[in-house]
């Protein structure tokens, strides 16, 4: 009997959750952005660590900046929902030569949640990059959906 108040509290909380108006809230992290992180590769792949670049600038060609001269260890970008490929400019430091990344993908419209409505999900086919600063690239997850993953890892040797 001493647990009865706790049980009632749990039940009431569960009822709150069950009665929640799901169309009123949208978790913004559910937006389907492509995530990319930076890794420093030393000892030829035997020691790989996350790295922060001091002045990262990134934008889709012909569009506004996503990031402009900010210290970052990862970036999230939105792929073009009206085309099957997107090209991005990436400069990691003011002294580094910029790289260009090209993403080719398939698109599909999905229902995310009652609060968020529909979103375009992407399935990556190929990723092409220049190798001025980037040493190598690894696709961790081809499905760009609402899971908020890191889909691409960029490796650098310096």
């Amino acid at each position: 009997m001493k647990y009865i108040s706790g049980i009632i509290a749990i039940l009431l909380l569960s009822v709150f959750a069950a009665c929640e108006d799901e169309t009123k809230s949208c978790d913004q992290t559910l937006i389907s952005d492509l995530g990319m992180n930076f890794k420093k590769d030393t000892l030829q792949g035997f020691l790989v660590k996350d790295t922060i670049w001091p002045k990262v600038t990134m934008y889709a060609l012909g569009r506004d900046s996503i990031v402009k001269k900010q210290p970052r260890s990862s970036v999230f970008m939105s792929l073009d929902p009206l085309a099957d490929s997107s090209r991005f400019y990436l400069k990691l430091d003011s002294t580094m030569i910029p790289d260009t990344l090209t993403f080719r993908y398939k698109r599909k419209q999905n229902f995310v949640s009652p609060g968020c409505g529909f979103a375009t999900f992407f399935t990556l086919d190929t990723v092409i990059t220049t190798y001025h600063t980037i040493d190598s690239l690894h696709i961790n997850n081809r499905e760009v959906n609402s899971t908020n993953d890191t889909h691409i890892s960029l490796f650098f040797i310096y």
Binding site: S14, T23, F111, P114
Partner: protein, 293 residues
């Protein structure tokens, strides 16, 4: 959240009040039962077990004829006949009023649910529920329409130990199987991308789906007025399978709840009327239960 809290609180209080009312009404009946129990114990010393008569007959038989030698018979108490009594059986038909309150919190859904149960034996009840759901939502990014029906069927076990066998109150736990058929569509949606400054309009055609789930129930039903019952129950529903369209889960699966969740908690508050239809014969042994060594 405050409205939800008040709603839940009022339901809990209403349940407690009905219980309290029942508790105030019952004591008179309870004491009468106790009295009869005392009365039946009174004539016990008068009754002699048949085995005690045998030694007396043996003492009177003094003729020379030798009686056949029988091994001494141990006194075997006569087996008491089983207690047979009848309990009322019938159909309890009710409407779940919490579905109407739910529309207040989730305006996009309209639900109607009818519950019924029939007594199968002393403790077991067959439970049945049918319902209908209509979901309609419209905002700046999409419109949604859905409608469907569901049914659940299962058994409820009454945990309440009743002093009066005609008592129809219940504290029960049960397991039900649920099945729903739903059709839904998104007549129009628009995906706006701020970075690319793009609009992607589209629509999702009408889709039919079915769902199967299991629900575990715990609740009580109290006879507030003769044959009129008030009852609440909590239910945990676990989805077994559904064939919703890939990339487009329904907002609501009728009877289950949120279409994107694999389990769902729910609470019901039912007003029901009991229709007495038959009586169930209960046979119970009056022998004292054997104690385990």
């Amino acid at each position: 959240m405050i409205r939800t809290f008040l709603y839940s609180l009022s339901i809990s209080l209403a349940g407690l009040l009905t219980q309290a009312t029942q508790a105030q009404v019952k004591p008179a009946g309870d004491t009468s039962i106790k009295k009869t129990a005392v009365d039946t114990s009174a004539p016990k010393p008068v009754q002699r077990p048949p085995a005690t008569a045998a030694p007396a007959r043996k003492a009177a038989d003094t003729s020379g004829r030798k009686p056949a030698q029988h091994p001494p018979v141990a006194a075997v108490p006569a087996k008491k006949p089983d207690s047979v009594y009848y309990v009322p059986g019938g159909l309890r038909l009710g409407i779940d009023i919490s579905r109407f309150a739910l529309h207040f919190f989730q305006p996009y859904r309209t639900d109607v649910a009818v519950q019924a149960d029939v007594r199968l034996n002393k403790k077991l009840y067959g439970a049945f529920e049918v319902g209908y759901n209509r979901t309609s939502h419209s905002d700046t990014s999409y419109t949604y329409k859905g409608s469907g029906a569901y049914t659940t069927i299962g058994v409820d076990y009454d945990f309440l130990k009743k002093k009066d066998p005609t008592d129809k109150n219940m504290v029960y736990g049960g397991i039900h199987y649920g099945f729903a058929r739903n059709s839904y569509e998104a007549p129009a949606y628009n995906i706006h991308n701020q970075y690319w400054d793009s609009e992607t309009p589209g629509s999702f055609p009408k889709t039919n789906m079915t769902a199967h789930w299991i629900e575990l129930t715990f609740g009580m039903r109290v006879e507030a007025l003769p044959n009129l019952f008030l009852g609440w129950a909590v239910r945990e529903k676990i989805m077994l399978a559904n064939n919703a369209a890939e990339g487009f889960d329904p907002i609501i699966i009728p009877g289950f709840g949120s279409g994107s969740k694999s389990s769902q908690f729910d609470m019901t508050y039912t007003v029901s009327y009991y229709i007495p239809l038959y009586k169930i014969k209960i046979r119970e042994s009056r022998e004292p239960k054997k104690k385990k060594d």
